[in-house]
């Protein structure tokens, strides 16, 4: 397992979370480097969202450590979260505020300097000018995703967490979003941890993938070469095989 990548923006060590007898995440360790997009894959209930929740500081691990840009989340929560941001389908922005109002509120929450200028830049980048004064609740799911991504970029995060960001988008919009996130990573601004069930997307954007199943990392590597290395025709076949493997062994 490559544990010492240069410039790790996220470093997760021996992370564990159990709900009673059920172990949701079982001592996983991984890193995300600056400029890298890492895909976190796995079947439903594998522990992906639990992992992301712990990195976002809204769920306390039973053991293990999380460091964001060198800052320990347990002891420097505000500093670590100030270098992080996220977008997830299950965390929509308040629909009763306009696009600009939401960006301003979250910009203040993240302590962004020269906020008005930053908001204008993001509105331009994510093609939101015509929705600037519209309430987020009336936007289409694709438009809402763009606003959520603009919010996720408001503090120019070192670590960007994306939980199925393209789940509700049409192929054209999804491709645009992938290109923007790719651009974010390539620019070296930060690293991205991306969860999705779309294997084509994973091969298109991710530099590395982690296969999570039953709370454990079962496999990791380059999504373009992994299937062949494990004797599977496609990434999807590999996904299915990995997801089933622990069950058949039990």
């Amino acid at each position: 397992m490559p544990m010492d990548l240069p410039e790790a923006i996220l470093s997760v060590r021996d992370l564990r979370k159990a709900y009673g007898d059920k172990i949701a995440v079982d001592r996983i360790s991984f890193e995300v480097s600056r400029g890298q997009i890492v895909g976190l894959l796995g079947p439903n209930g594998a522990g992906k969202t639990t992992t992301i929740s712990m990195i976002l500081g809204v769920l306390q691990p039973d053991s293990g450590s999380i460091r964001v840009d060198g800052m320990d989340l347990a002891t420097g929560r505000a500093q670590a979260l100030g270098r992080t941001n996220f977008a997830a389908v299950y965390a929509p922005l308040p629909g009763n505020l306009t696009v600009q109002q939401n960006l301003r509120v979250f910009g203040l929450l993240y302590g962004v300097e020269e906020l008005s200028e930053r908001i204008n830049t993001l509105i331009g980048q994510f093609d939101l000018e015509k929705f600037r004064n519209m309430k987020c609740g009336v936007l289409s799911s694709g438009e809402q995703t763009r606003v959520a991504l603009a919010k996720a970029m408001i503090n120019q995060p070192g670590l960007l967490l994306l939980d199925e960001p393209t789940a509700s988008l049409d192929p054209v919009a999804a491709r645009e979003i992938r290109a923007r996130i790719r651009q974010f990573a390539v620019s070296g601004e930060g690293g991205v941890l991306w969860t999705t069930h779309n294997m084509v997307e994973v091969q298109d954007v991710c530099d590395r993938v982690l296969f999570l199943s039953h709370g454990k990392i079962m496999l990791e590597g380059d999504p373009k070469t992994l299937p062949e290395e494990h004797g599977q025709p496609t990434l999807e076949d590999l996904f299915v095989a990995v997801a089933r493997e622990p069950l058949t062994q039990e």
Partner: protein
Amino acid sequence: MTATYFRPVIAISLRYFYLLRGTPARWIPVFAWVAIDIVLWGFISKYLNSVGASSLNFVPTLLGAVLLFDFFTRVMHGVAGVFLEDVWSRNFLNLFASPLTIPQFLLGLVVTSTVTSLIGLMVMLVLATALFGLSFFVYGLMLVPFLLILFLFGVSLGICTCAMVLRLGPSAEWLVWPVPAVISPFAGVFYPISILPHWMQFVGKLLPVSYVFEGLRKIISGGTVPAASLILGGGLAVTYVLLACWLFKRVFRHAVRTGILARYSAESLS
């Protein structure tokens, strides 16, 4: 503490003021209900003045008590209402995955409630003075500590109810609104707590607001408010604010540890 510290506090308040600006219906709880209360109790007070044999003026006694109790209610509901906006819009994940700290969050709730409560208070003062001749000069400088005690106790109860909703889930919001009504019989808003049964008197003496209403009646009857009573009421109110902040922080940590916060959009939590 730098100006940067207050940016998240401003964010919490700004969000609510955006909502107030964009939705006229949200102004109703800010001043409409208190205005209705003032009008209703103003006429009741006038009626009692006209039929009662007593020389007691009911306007400063009853209407003044209603006004002060409504101010306390507004503060408490104000704190809880700002919190509930984030419950309703399922915004907890976005909020608490940001660098926002609990003291900043609570300060944001209190600042917002202070502004809206003062607006409500102004409306009540104008109505009570213009329509029913209630003069606040009758309470003298005592009005300042009275309002301060009511404000602090309103803040403490508001934060406690936020902790309760965070712990029990969104459906617990229905337990928030009746809290002032539950407190009022013990607080002696309209009568001295000495007429209550002993156990109710005991509860009343633990409520900072009861010292305000006892003091108010003392002033109206020509007496003076004992300093010890004000100090006790103020001391209790400050203690409850500190306890409420401690409680919220404890409940928040529990919510982070158990996963309640991460799964908060569920209708009810166990």
